[in-house]
Amino acid sequence: MGEHGFLGEFELVVMLAVLQVGEGAYAVNIRRVIEERVGRSVSRGTVYVTLNRLEQKGLLASSLGEPTASRGGKAKRIFRVRPEGLRAIRATQAMLREMARGLDPLLEES
């Protein structure tokens, strides 16, 4: 996020995806939400890297979930959005809105 407090495009997408999933967001369902809503394939590696980065920046928090049988006893790494993360999403969206102001005729879909 850097000093300016804004999120990169894919970072924003991942943050929103974590919110969309709500309780129990982890790499598999986060990626699925993104693919369903955006309609394009996202590599698993990129999702992991971005999740890690967002956690390092203090925008996401993670904890180990219950190991289930379908995962062969491996725990899930469950993510949730921290208050700082929510702030960053808001700031980024506000910034985008600000930048787009007055461009409606140009940007609106015909």
């Binding site: 790499a27 598999v28 698993r44 590696g45 379908s70 995962r71 062969g72």
Partner: protein, 890 residues
Amino acid sequence: MSAPRPPRLSERILVLLLPYPDGDAAVGDLREEYRERVSWGASRLSAGLWHLGQALAIATRVRFSGLRGPGLRSDARTAVRQLVRQPGYSLVIITAVALGIGVNAVLLAVADGVFLEPLPYPAADRLGIVSNDHTGSSTDGFGISYLNIDDVRTRLRTVEEMALYLDWQDVNLSGTEQAHRIPANFVTSNYFAMMGLEAHMGRVLAAEDNRPGAAASVAVLTEDTWERVFGADPTVLGRAVLLNGTPFEVVGIVGGGERDLRQRYRDTGSVGIYLPLEAVTTVLGFPLREERGRRFLNALVRLRPGVAFSAAQAELLAMSSDLAREFPEANEGWSYRLTSLSEAFFEEVRTPVLALLVGATLVLLLVSVNLANVVLIRATGRAQEWAMRQALGAGRARLLRQLVAEAAVLTFAGGIAGLLLGNWGLVALLRTGGVQLPAFVSIDMDLRVALSSLGLAVGAGAFIGLVAATGVWRQSLGHDLRESGRSSGSLRARHARSGLILAQVGLAFVLLVGAGLMLESFRTLRNTGYGFDTEDLLLARTDLRGEAYAEPEDRRATAEALLQRAAALPGVEEAFLWSPNRLGYGNWVALLTREDRYALYPQERIEASRHSLRPGTLAAVGIPLLAGRDFGPQDTPEGVPVAIVSESLGRALWPEGDPVGRRMEGYRSGELTTFEVVGVVADARHRTRLIDPFGPQLDVYFPYSQASERFLTLALRSASGGDPTAFAAPLRQSVREVDPDLPVYELTTMESVMRNEEGRSRLAAMLVGLYATLAVLLAGLGIYGVLAHAVRQQTREIGIRLALGARVRGVVARVMGSGLRLTLLGVGSGALAALGVARLLESALYGVDPWNPWIFVAVAILLPAVAVVSCLVPALRAVRVDPVEALRVE
């Protein structure tokens, strides 16, 4: 049912490469998705491959993100910086890896095309070819008889479908603007569906086209013929053409001729026309149902699903014995043989390709061992640097990773270079013509080959890095900060290294001698002629086929006319006729015995290549007459049957000597005939120039007036220096003037015939040469490695010696002496081994003594010379030791 588990390997990759708990979480995530895939019906294999791919992708992506501590990227960057600083060292390693990978890449590409690509037919893995074997014969793969197979075909329970075909004949196609020679396949109508051949225009053959005794005169062209002969004329359907003089109607065009079964013959060209099997009688004159003993067909079978080839073979064998019992006269000693299609296509190349592939893998292994040795030695040399870095806080794991990264960068660069080299080598290899494969096989560096080659390179890199890393690990790093590696390398390790060098020098010696012998033999071969004058010769074939040439006098008249026109072409010095073989070939043969012994003593029959010539031809091609006379006007069609024998044939028939005037027996146009030998000529190498050029050459020559064969070779010699190919067009024109229905085919120069023949030996010489180059390089590397190591260990000692006034020359001599001693030992043992191996090579050599002293001497000089260069680098480094520095290290 226990839940399916993804491959352990790919899970381990994740756990190893990703820090906890990322690795574990990712493993769990992928397990979930893996199971989902399997439950949707994905096969274990495809799901497993998917899993492996994902694991690698995730691991690389996360490691390379560079955010979780210094990642691989920085390792790689440091490694590149290190290696650029030592260009000589890097270059040697990259070259060695490049050669190793290059050889592997070429062979992988060939193996990929030959073994892995599925054959392009529906249910290809259930298709096979049925042929006949005969107990008394050394050759196998005879055709099968129509009456026999017709008796058993409905009884075969392992066979789902059977098509019959005859695919080894060419036909004359005329009635078009120009006559052509077209490779034909006579087939039953189900052949097309079995081979997956479909009509692009019109139709393929139908069952009623093959009604017994009432075959339809219809033909299906391949696209190639349609384009070449008819200029892709869209109105060709319904056109009448003449095939060997018999009218046929074109009813369809099929694609895919390059996939036809004819492709399993080398050198005969792709099929150009399909005809009903029943037409073999009208077009070729073969009786289909008259004689049970005529075996000119093959059967294409599709086995029932789930039936093993061995089971079908067993059933066919049972049928063979039934047939032998029912019709002993025609079938005694004959048995069916079933060959899978892939075997039929690739039988010949399979073994050599596999052997070469194993060889290449061994070479790569040898490269890796050597490089590991060198890298280890360099690493030990840097022991103090490592210790320092560790003391400054770098983790041990990080240092080792650095080593592995260096090896990986080197081998990766080597791998890329190897791919380029391999690509170039593959083009060169295919151009030699030594490898002949069916046209549907495409051999190239596709992605799969490239990736597996790079995989090999990376694997080699990992191996090298790990060996080096373990070596460094073992020499406790803290220890080395105090002592300058005096303790490194136990005595046992040093002995092992010396042994390795010895073996490598020995191996290099053997390979170099082998390469030398092969090259020398190739040179001899090039210089070994046929025993006749091959210069400036243009050859063209034609076939006097059909009703118009039923009588010998018609053939003679046309041959005469063809010859006269050819000789009259401007720029032609002389023209002559050779029949039925082509010059330098001996496929058409005659079986001969001394008089009155042919029927009684079949074991005495001698197989000789037969040639029909006009008077003067032997002199014109420069085959000298040794005794007796040439053919002449007195040898009329009605006169006494005469023959000229080659020196070796004369000796074989009459060991007591002087064959002129004696009589021998053999079949001529279906009749047992007695010939009088009127002359003896020197041996010429019509058939065995490459196989046994100095062995006996069995040839018999008949006058064309008495043996008026159908196949003709017209040979034109241009006025010296003229280009023989310039006659191609005028020659075609003059043949058309004589008879527009006569095709001209296999138009070529003697020069290119010879070049093609030599392709295989050239290839063998090239490959051995390549392996030998590698061996020398490896031996050099090995010597360098061991000596550099020794110098490093003796730094202090050398320093003291220099400080005490030892002379530089003495130091150099000491270091080099130890390397050269090893080399000479290797040369000695290698020479002994080479003496033995050379004997084994003998059968593959032409006119070269396997113990050719010059080759041995040359190799015995070359190898030590390479060793001197390898020794020089470490020796000079020893001299540069600064005594003060060396002592201060303590």
